[in-house]
């Protein structure tokens, strides 16, 4: 049981919640995630990155986008409600050290998991450049928080409604062409963005880490549902990751695997919406 202490809608489909989780708040490190379930008997388990934690308050912060059944129902929960299943912190923490010049690239909701990592990298003495991007201005999150950390800060939107009209790979390429080039890049966002960030840095031989968010069941290495191909080896995102060398990840296979249950989920989602509509109609 984990109580919702705070809830805020960050953009049309993106929510921030602070959850009561004293043990997780105490143990978690940048890069780790939790798994939650909104129904103990019939809920599904979804992984969400820990965006922040407050050990004193005994709370963690999650930021999520409504993309399916569970995230939708989660978005309908309110302060005071309890999430019945919350487990973590899971995954291997980000390896934080002083690399020198680092670039943190966050796309859309990916800015949320990037935030604690950027913070830790800054604290470790790195010179931190942050690029955040989204489809449009409304979808930019945590701008102020990220600006505070950044030595250099770049915002891009696909439609040019805010910041540069560009994909994040454009400024990333420019940074790679600078002298000195970055010592490390970490990119978190939609799979396709991480794939192209990795392709962008590859010719410059800049070490690039990505944080993968695959389908998971247990989150402790037991089911293998989250497996990805990394440099020809099978790795489990839940225990070996979530961060991997982006130049070695087989993104195409990963994206196919992310769609494994798409048809069933869509079917379910429609039934679910029908049910919600029915409930609303009854109310009226």
């Amino acid at each position: 049981m984990s109580k919702i202490l705070y809830k805020e809608q960050l953009s049309e489909n993106v929510y921030l919640m602070r959850l009561e989780a004293p043990l997780i708040a105490e143990e978690r490190k940048a890069g780790q995630f939790i798994i939650l379930q909104i129904d103990e008997d019939f809920g599904e388990r979804i992984p969400l990155t820990i965006a922040d934690a407050n050990a004193e308050e005994g709370s963690i912060t999650i930021i999520f986008q409504v993309v399916g059944l569970t995230t939708e129902e989660l978005s309908l929960m309110n302060v005071g409600d309890a999430i019945p299943v919350l487990v973590g912190p899971l995954g291997t923490p980000t390896h934080i050290k002083n690399y020198g010049n680092v670039v943190c690239v966050g796309g859309g909701i990916g800015v949320a998991p990037l935030h604690p990592i950027a913070e830790a990298l800054k604290a470790a003495g790195n010179n931190v450049t942050i690029i955040i991007g989204a489809r449009n201005k409304e979808l930019i999150i945590l701008e102020d928080e990220m600006k505070k950390i950044a030595d250099e800060f770049i915002i891009c939107t696909d439609d040019g409604s805010y910041g540069r009209k560009a994909l994040v790979t454009e400024p990333l390429k420019e940074l790679c062409e600078r002298d000195p080039k970055p010592d490390m890049v970490i990119a978190i966002g939609p799979p396709i963005m991480m794939k192209f960030c990795s392709e962008t840095t590859r010719p410059y031989k800049v070490f690039t880490q990505v944080s993968l968010n695959t389908i998971m069941v247990d989150g402790t290495g037991m089911c293998g549902g989250c497996r990805v191909n990394v440099g020809g080896e099978v790795k489990f995102v839940c225990v070996d990751g979530p961060e991997f060398d982006g130049h070695l990840v087989d993104f195409d296979n990963m994206m196919q695997r992310l769609n494994a249950f798409k048809d069933i989920e869509e079917e379910k989602h429609h039934c679910h919406i029908d049910k919600l509509v029915e409930l609303k109609e009854k109310e009226l």
């Binding site: 043990l23 599904e44 247990d218 037991m222 089911c223 099978v234």
Partner: protein, 508 residues
């Protein structure tokens, strides 16, 4: 053996029952040996292949009494030696024969707190029943006294009356024991340690208790309600359960002792690391580890498509790779989830299959197709990365290998392709490294299994381990046997601690 409907079994048994009723004392061994084995009544294969209800229905009282009358009560009691937790088998069977069922249950419970589970999933044919004199006399282990079925009967009888006795707990000692994992090993340790009056907390990573009995073994072989009820007895003993708690992540193992004051820890985390074949196409969409497939179906209840949010793959043709109980469970689950065709592909022959005979028989009755001396070479996918087929190779048996089984040897050039959309890999489990990675001093062998001494103690003081994390993937009852040993060692350690503290108090 062909399927016999329950009413036919019952009719036959009732005749015998009328004949032997009240004559237990006067039956001679030769009379007992004449009584035929009472078959386990089961659901019709055609019906059960589409539902999740338990396959084996269980004995009626009369059936149990007749079967119990087959036991010769031999003085050497070889069955007890075959039981990892040393249940007094002849004694509990005699009580059933005398229709004193509660007394029978009490005898079983002296050695095992989970009889409804053991009676269902133990491989009795290779343990207690393997050594049974009746089976030996008839030169057929299948004709041994059906000890497992009788154990199940007694446990069910007590449960169905809603009056499961709670074992006595000695006065509180103030010593704290942490159990990591709520599977069969952990539950046995918890019960045995709690009986001595120690404070016991079980930590479970999942949101439901029971470990492999919950996520792995399907409802049709071991209903969740039975696991829940057996665990509720432990709760009544005052054992505490902490779910959604991953020791090694939520809290470091060493912190349980250093910060939370646990005096001893038992690791019963199981063999939770799926082994894959390492062949081409294994990451395609539609290839699942048996762990994932069964966890979705069982723990996450994906079989209940209407209510469950967790999806399960829609399959028409499924191949299960492997020949153990997990392979049987996966195949039979796939059938129940609507697959039109399910193959079990095994590279040796039926004789070498590690699965229980009964499971194989049940699977065959339900229509699972067995392909022996074959194995996957690579899995084929379409442009969307989804499984569409599998290339297989044929094998023949060569010389015996280290396990004593004849080694399968590939027949070169024997490739052939089968069309299918789902592959379930059930070739075994390694040990999950999550805990051992976080405690470097904890010694593991080359397979990652925790190394323990004869008392189940690990290389680190106060840390004990047992079950699959030590044995590699084995059975529920072997895990329980290890748990029993570990509990005895922990109780011994804590008793010494209590003694030393008392002495210290007196001296000061």
């Amino acid at each position: 053996m062909t399927y016999v409907p329950p009413e036919v079994i019952e009719e036959k048994v009732l005749e015998i029952y009328e004949d032997i009723k009240g004559r237990y004392a006067e039956l001679k061994n030769k009379d007992k040996l004449k009584i035929p084995t009472v078959e386990m009544p089961a659901q019709d294969p055609h019906v059960r292949a589409h539902n999740l209800e338990e396959v084996a229905i269980g004995y009626t009282l009369e059936e149990a009494i007749v079967e119990a009358n087959r036991c010769l009560q031999c003085p050497t009691q070889p069955c007890i030696d075959g039981c990892p937790v040393r249940i007094d088998i002849p004694a509990f069977i005699e009580k059933i024969a005398l229709n004193e069922i509660q007394q029978s249950v009490d005898i079983i419970k002296e050695a095992s707190l989970l009889p409804a589970i053991c009676g269902r999933v133990c491989p009795q044919e290779s343990q207690c029943q393997a050594t049974c004199i009746v089976g030996k006399a008839k030169k057929d282990v299948d004709k041994a006294v059906a000890i497992g079925r009788l154990e199940r009967f007694a446990a069910d009888w007590e449960r169905e009356r809603g009056a499961i006795k709670v074992p006595e707990v000695k006065p509180e000692t103030g010593k704290k024991v942490a159990i990591v994992g709520s599977g069969p090993a952990g539950l046995v340790v918890a019960a045995d340690v709690r009986r001595e009056g120690h404070d016991v907390t079980i930590f479970e990573a999942f949101h439901k208790l029971g470990g492999v009995m919950r996520y792995g073994i399907p409802e049709f072989r071991l209903p969740n309600d039975i696991v829940d009820i057996e665990i509720s007895t432990l709760k009544k003993m005052g054992i505490k359960f902490q779910m959604n708690y991953v020791v090694g992540r939520t809290r470091k193992l060493t912190d349980l002792m250093a910060k939370d004051g646990f005096d001893a820890v038992f690791l019963g985390t199981g063999a939770g690391l799926p082994i894959f074949m390492g062949i081409e196409g294994e990451n395609l969409v539609g290839v699942f580890s048996a762990n994932e497939y069964l966890t979705r179906a069982n723990l996450m209840r994906a079989f209940d498509r209407e209510h469950a949010d967790t999806p399960i793959y829609k399959s028409k043709v499924v191949a299960v790779l492997g020949g153990g109980n997990v392979a049987m469970d996966s195949a039979r689950m796939a059938l129940r989830l609507g697959a039109e065709k399910v193959y079990v592909i095994y590279r040796r022959t039926e004789v070498e299959m590690p699965a229980r005979k009964e499971e194989v028989l049940h699977a065959k009755e339900e229509g699972i197709e067995f392909h022996f001396l074959q194995n996957a070479k690579r899995i084929l996918g379409d442009e969307k990365g989804r499984v569409v087929g599998m290339e297989c190779l044929r094998y023949e048996l060569g010389e015996p290998d280290a396990s004593g089984r004849r080694r399968p040897v590939v027949i070169e050039g024997s490739e052939f392709t089968i069309d299918l959309d789902t592959v379930i890999v059930a070739i075994g489990n390694g040990s999950n490294p999550l805990i051992s990675q976080t405690v470097p001093e904890l010694k593991v062998n080359k397979w990652g299994n925790i190394v323990v001494n004869e008392k189940q103690k690990s290389s680190v003081d106060k840390i004990y381990a047992g079950g699959d994390i030590v044995l590699g993937a084995a059975t529920v009852i072997l895990a329980m046997g290890e748990g029993r040993k570990a509990a005895a060692s922990i109780n011994e350690l804590l008793a010494e601690n209590v003694e030393t503290e008392k002495e210290a108090e007196i001296n000061s």
